[in-house]
Amino acid sequence: MIGTGLLVIVNRNPVASALCLVASFVFMAGLFVLLNAFFLAVIQILVYAGAVMVLFLFIIMLLDLKATADRRPNLFSYLFGGVVAVALMALFVQVLGYLPAGEMNAANLPAADGAYDARSLGELLFTKHLLPFLATGVLLLAATAGVVLLSKRGLGSDSTPPETSNPPAAP
């Protein structure tokens, strides 16, 4: 998974990069299964590796992006990015050093039959977390309206303003 994640950022070709990201998501779903999050593993495959990445590939092919070499290597960007990423990783390692690791064994965990299935997740979703769930629905509606508004040809370039008084803000 880390290897495919690395391939995402070193590939010159955006299509190959997107396919590596799909592989990374599928491996991530495997890790979710290992962590007993079966429902989320399925959602990960369906939504991320399925819908979102198909959307990405569709846009890449629609815009007809080529595998372009950098015009100039932009050494400063590489240097800065490497320094920031390594610094962040060092920070994470330092934080991980503080955690007590010994008793957090996966083997010591009790076998949780039925405690992590979709039913308990759904019950929790519709009782304790009902308000965020409904807010998510409103967010999806706003995103849909925003995408339709953004995709209208000639937005902002023509003189007539759109009919809607307040366009929905991008989340």
Binding site: G5, L31, A37, Y48, V84, L96, L150
Partner: protein, 107 residues
């Protein structure tokens, strides 16, 4: 053979997050930058699920991490749709997705 502990999952998550950040800074293509951002969201999801799994089973809210991941996935899907629509609108205006060519807001 060492046991898999919580720290292993967190280390994988941290590594993937750092890779995503490095990709956002390295790459010049707007769409690839967007994909790296998805990778960072996914790394955060992994650590949330790991925390949820390693909570005691009877504890209050031991599934809350998974609920959080559910919301993160939903919001990420909405955000991808809006962001890609923005990119397409930008491409119509400028015929490019390289960040070097999009310097309208650069001081």
């Amino acid at each position: 053979m060492t046991e898999i502990t919580l720290n292993h999952y967190l280390a994988v998550s941290a590594l993937l997050f750092s890779l995503g950040l490095a990709g956002i800074i390295f790459r010049r293509n707007l769409i690839v930058i967007y994909m790296c951002m998805e990778m960072m969201l996914n790394a955060a999801n992994l650590s949330l699920i790991a925390f949820s799994r390693f909570m005691p089973l009877g504890a209050a809210g031991h599934l809350d991490g998974q609920i959080m991941v559910f919301f993160v996935i939903t919001v990420a899907a909405a955000e991808v749709a809006v962001g890609l629509a923005l990119i397409v609108a930008l491409y119509r205006q400028r015929q490019t997705t390289r960040v070097e060519d999009l310097t309208l807001l650069k001081f």
